[in-house]
């Protein structure tokens, strides 16, 4: 009898632990930040080319990345103070996106600087990584929309690898609006409603 009770207790503990590990909150602020900065960077790039200003691409993207990292850290701290209850899923989510944020400049800037990755291939590489990020996030948040957007990012990456050109950066900009900025705004509004 007591043996059964002990088994029940252990099963109960396991259930509580499993339930807690799956708790996952995202407010979309990081998506809004990075997509907005990337879109601004893309616009500056096109203005630079259109007006023949002759500014090096590195001088456009390095400030974008530095500003992004500073604001990302500020948002993380503010978010940490609001969410507090950091679960296993939350840690996986943050680690995944931190790893991706570190990888983007390595591939885009260093890859471009060393000629290992051509300018036209950069949007495809970024899209491939974003697909990975969304795919992992979709499992943590159990979101079909996220899973769908991961595949859209990968399809976009394949298309741009097959048909590279100057349009690929504009394509990346559009993808960022529809598959990062808008979902980020929706998540942010959702979070505000549930937090009330």
């Amino acid at each position: 009898m007591e043996n059964i009770r002990a088994q029940e207790e252990l099963a109960f503990i396991k259930k509580v632990i499993a339930d807690t590990q799956h708790v996952f909150v995202q407010n979309g602020h990081q998506y809004i930040l990075w997509s907005s900065l990337a879109i601004i960077g893309i616009l500056v790039k096109y203005i630079n080319e259109g007006l023949n200003l002759g500014i090096s691409g590195l001088w456009i993207w390095i400030p974008v990345i530095v500003i992004g990292l500073i604001f990302s850290e500020i948002l993380k701290r503010r978010n940490y103070n609001k969410i507090r209850s950091k679960t296993f899923s939350q840690k996986i989510f943050e680690t995944t996106w931190t790893a991706l944020v570190i990888s983007f400049p390595i591939l885009a800037l260093v890859g471009f600087y060393t000629d290992a990755i051509t300018t036209d291939a950069v949007p495809s590489v970024i899209a491939t990584l974003l697909g990975c990020g969304y795919f992992i996030t979709s499992y943590l948040s159990d979101s079909k929309w996220m899973r769908f957007s991961a595949f859209v990012w990968w399809i976009f990456a394949i298309t741009m690898f097959l048909f590279p050109g100057k349009h690929s950066v504009a394509g990346l900009g559009l993808m960022l609006i529809f598959f990062q900025l808008i979902p980020g705004i929706i998540l942010s509004r959702k979070r505000k409603t549930t937090a009330k």
Binding site: V16, Q21, N81, K86, F88
Partner: protein, 98 residues
Amino acid sequence: MKDYNYKNIDDIIHSRIRLAIMAVLINVENAEFVFLKKQVNTTDGNLSIHLKKLEDAGYVSVEKKFENRKPVSIYQITEKGKRAFEEYIKKLEKFITK
């Protein structure tokens, strides 16, 4: 009294709600009262009573502050609490496999 004797188990943890609180807190760096309430699925009053017992035993620590003029309580499991919880699990497992 044998080691696996059920009566030999930690009385402070050995309550469904307190056990649930400990299981939640062992998983997170810290947790807000509201988060605990949602995970443990109990009332404010009940949760407060059980948290107080765990706090008095030194198993959890609490940080109380005001944010936007609202009181916020943040709970964290202590080292003593972690050891007690692990010991509790070990005893349960020993009891099952005896």
